[in-house]
Symmetry: C2
Subunit: 549 residues, 2 copies
């Protein structure tokens, strides 16, 4: 029904602009040109230089015909080039495809082909894998070599273009354009998901802008905060922090490798105020050699996800001067879209109770409009009793556009107008959610998603294997590791070591199961593998192994 407020009050250039995080950098460079945007080893880059370099890279890409909807893939560590790619690529209208640097050549080739990659910016530290991937891939992207000057890598150059030379030759005044629409893609991030082939999760400018701001508001990140890169930027675009930090004109501290000594040095020398990471990063901080630990002048906010922080870690982190906030999300929701928003009333509880409360994944970010645990059949909310299991579902502006070139998976993920996470959880009376079982086919090891189905498919290809099922096994350091249950042909004398060799030939080494069990796999009467029984068995094996050492 039309009202007086609908007449002659249309959108125009003056009152409507596409939401995008790109304007954050333009503003930071304009308002605080001399402020340090990036520190990496002995390299410091001001906001004026950061913006200039991004424009130069964008112009260099545009000169080579890269434009709207083209995919620019990057295989980069947490270096300044990775931050620059987060702005320069979308500045020329293209879509950033960051790859997990631990992937094997086969998966990389799949991603390059699937995303129809036009350009590949690759750190020479990953040359061996990338060279193999380029041999396997059908596409022939323009290859740009990034040679890390702070931490020189031994790998070969693979292309004809040098990143630094390309940037320097670019137009510092390049008139980059806003996205044609805020719904335009800004990046694609592949997730192993629950099927063998990775799915390309497409982010749009609107969501990236809103989650980047959402981080600042949710975490009360003030102007000029100092952020340490212990979270890989290839994970969900670093949870959008490459964009958040420009919104607050803060400083990025880049780290190529997550090492305890480097983390402590950065914390102390650069006055780091915020960092993110899986629990393994907290362990690294806490388990550092005494000579590497430093006293800190500032309070440090640590945002963790992938697994609930254990009570011991929380108390140790607090004693070390860190405030830990538990986040939860998935690649499909730009990284963190759920926060264990701490209630100050809980400060007076016993440490054990606090840890129990902090183990809950929590409530929606502001930038997410709805979070709920629903019965996956009826889409009705489960009772808020902390007991009834349902599927965690999301609805809002920080949910992906969908899966690239995969309408079936997109439609399934969005069935009924909710994004179905595949994670099972409960809702407490106070509205906080807690995961009770992971999406059944995903193993999270050291913060990395590993698809059990992908491993099963590799195992199934071995001529002696007749059945295989892979589940998560608890692991003190990595959180979880894959545990494989295998049935073999009667004549076989296959060993675990044989299968490790087999797996290493067919997948990234971090995905290789740490444990093999040769036994009949528990199945239902209809032949469905009873993974929950296997998980129990794996947990017993892990506990037994712990008791030995």
């Amino acid at each position: 029904m039309s009202s007086i407020y609908d007449r002659d009050l249309e959108q125009n250039q003056a009152n409507y602009q596409p939401l995008t995080p790109l304007t954050f950098l333009e503003r930071a460079a304009s308002v605080f040109p001399d402020r340090i945007a990036i520190i990496y080893g002995d390299v410091t880059i001001t906001y004026a230089d950061f913006y200039r370099r991004c424009r130069q890279l964008a112009s260099a890409l545009a000169q080579r015909g890269i434009g709207r909807g083209d995919t620019v893939s990057v295989m980069l560590a947490n270096t300044p080039a990775m931050l620059e790619a987060h702005y320069a690529v979308p500045m020329c209208g293209a879509v950033l495809h960051s790859m997990n640097t631990r992937l094997d050549a086969g998966v990389i080739a799949f991603q390059l082909d699937h995303a129809e990659s036009k350009v590949l910016i690759t750190d020479s530290g990953f040359s061996t894998t990338i060279e193999a991937a380029l041999e396997l891939a059908a596409v022939e992207p323009l290859v740009i070599d990034y040679c890390d000057r702070v931490s020189p890598q031994s790998g070969d150059r693979l292309g004809t273009l040098d990143y630094e030379a390309l940037v320097n030759a670019g137009d510092a005044e390049f008139a980059w354009s806003m996205p044609a629409s805020e719904w335009d893609a800004i990046s694609v991030n592949y997730t192993s998901g629950t099927t063998g082939d990775p799915k390309g999760v497409v982010y749009h400018h609107r969501g990236a802008c809103l989650l980047a701001q959402g981080n600042a508001i949710t975490a009360s990140i003030p102007k000029h905060a100092v952020y340490l890169w212990t979270l890989p930027m290839f994970h969900c675009n670093g949870w959008c922090f490459p964009w958040t930090m420009s919104a607050v004109s803060g400083t990025h501290i880049c780290l190529r490798e997550v090492r305890a000594d480097a983390i402590w040095a950065a914390l102390a020398e650069h006055g780091v105020t915020h960092l993110c990471g899986a629990p393994v990063v907290m362990s690294a901080i806490l388990d550092a050699q005494p000579e590497h630990k430093r006293s800190l002048d500032q309070a440090v906010e640590f945002f963790t996800a992938a697994a609930p922080p254990p009570e011991r870690v929380l108390s140790d982190m607090r004693a070390a001067g860190f405030n830990v906030t538990h986040l939860y999300g998935l690649t499909e929701v730009y990284g963190p879209a759920v926060v264990n928003d701490w209630n100050t009333e809980w400060d007076s509880l016993a440490a054990e109770q606090q840890a129990a409360l902090k183990a809950r994944q929590g409530v929606r970010y502001h930038a997410l409009e709805e979070l709920d645990v629903l019965d996956p059949e009826t889409l009705q909310p489960v009772p808020r009793d902390g007991e009834t299991l349902g599927e965690v579902m999301f609805r809002g502006n920080v949910v992906m556009k969908g899966y690239l070139k995969n309408k079936a998976a997109t439609d399934e993920a969005f069935a009924g107008g909710w994004f179905h996470s595949g994670d099972l959880g409960v809702v407490y009376p106070d509205g906080y959610i807690q995961l009770k079982d992971r999406s059944k086919d995903i193993i999270i090891s050291g913060g990395e998603n590993i698809s059990s189905i992908e491993i099963e498919e590799v195992l199934h290809k071995h001529p002696h294997v007749t059945a295989a099922a892979v589940v998560a096994m608890p692991h003190a350091k990595w959180g979880e590791t894959p545990c494989a249950f295998v049935e073999v042909v009667a004549s076989s004398n296959l060993t675990g070591d044989d299968l490790i060799i087999w797996c290493k030939q067919h997948m990234a080494s971090f995905k290789v199961p740490k444990q093999f069990v040769f036994d009949t796999i528990a199945k239902t009467s209809t032949g469905k593998v009873q993974k929950f029984l296997l998980r129990q068995q794996a947990a017993r094996l892990a506990a037994a192994a712990d008791s030995i050492y």
Copy 2:
């Protein structure tokens, strides 16, 4: 040109929701139900109660047929009811029309008629004016009386419905709905503008959401901040702070009147961290009786607009424990859309230099995409020399939908794809803008916009007056007051006192000129009044008056 990122990746309920600030309150009430949302005298309202009361009021309005696109007018002081109106009215799809409580009956009647008001919520403290306005108005809104229990007012009830009774009878579980579109109107705020008839500036949900978040990011407002209401909420919806505070789950401290003793008491007793106001509020704070001043445990952020804070005020405020940030905006840009974003490098400058830098209006909010000073003819940016005058123009998502039922004014304001502020300014080499001349026909007195043309029209109606021109005259307390230059018929012995009486009959008393000059009015050869000469003359008169006292 279509790309792979445009196919099968459409918007749906799961990944696209209208932006609106209404979800902020729902979230705060869900996550922090027991936290205090509002304190007013001895009344405290938790977030659970705040949300419940808003839903009740929304349901009561909906039950009476109020829905999408209907105008709900309010004549309210900075009381909890005013905060509730900011959520409850849009929760039922309606549009909030907050009126300046100092307006006279004629202007109120005009606004009610122009906005086609369906409901009027009115504080009994304003009954006399409202009663007269309702007699003048053609519309017959449903009148709801708000009777302030903390500060009882003597005025009569005008309607048949009592605000508190209405809220209590409402449905606490009312299923309010998101706006049909984020472009839907959320409020209308009338501005005196440069013509006699007020113009209705229409805000949309998208802009309100983005500016509310923009306040938090621009001003680094942390979770659970405590905000004191010294800025009238009828001004640009309180610069969107009624919504900002829910985004950070903060506490509103309501004040009916801006009195020094009440401000100091609130600062000390409630731990206020943030407040806003015109310079007159800073003067009130600084000029408080010694027995009213209190020592504060917390740092306080003060956001000021309407006039540059003088050096003396800045240093006195700093000494009193306040950090002052200078903002600038207009009703058409949701209040503040420009901030004097302070550069820490300037901290070491002399106080005089700091004041000069702080007097500049500054740079765009994150939530505003573009701010510039353009040649109004060519729309080309002026040189960034700090000298060349141009018109300040805005472009972005925190610019109004347009003027209600005024296509001509809307088209003019948005000519060339920029919002034309009417303010004249310069750009410094560092990109900060500074106003050099106000929009020529506006006088800002105590933070209130007064249209000189409106006063001139009243003067012109006096039978003895042949010509009248009104300009701003500097005033120590109010910043500016109107000064009227009048030409009268030869036989007249009209005095200033006569004209004061005349004016008081035809306009709100705060608009009545403080000074009348009976003289020939300086005009150009083409008959155009040379207001800049009159302003100089008024300034001399003000200086002379100062030197007497």
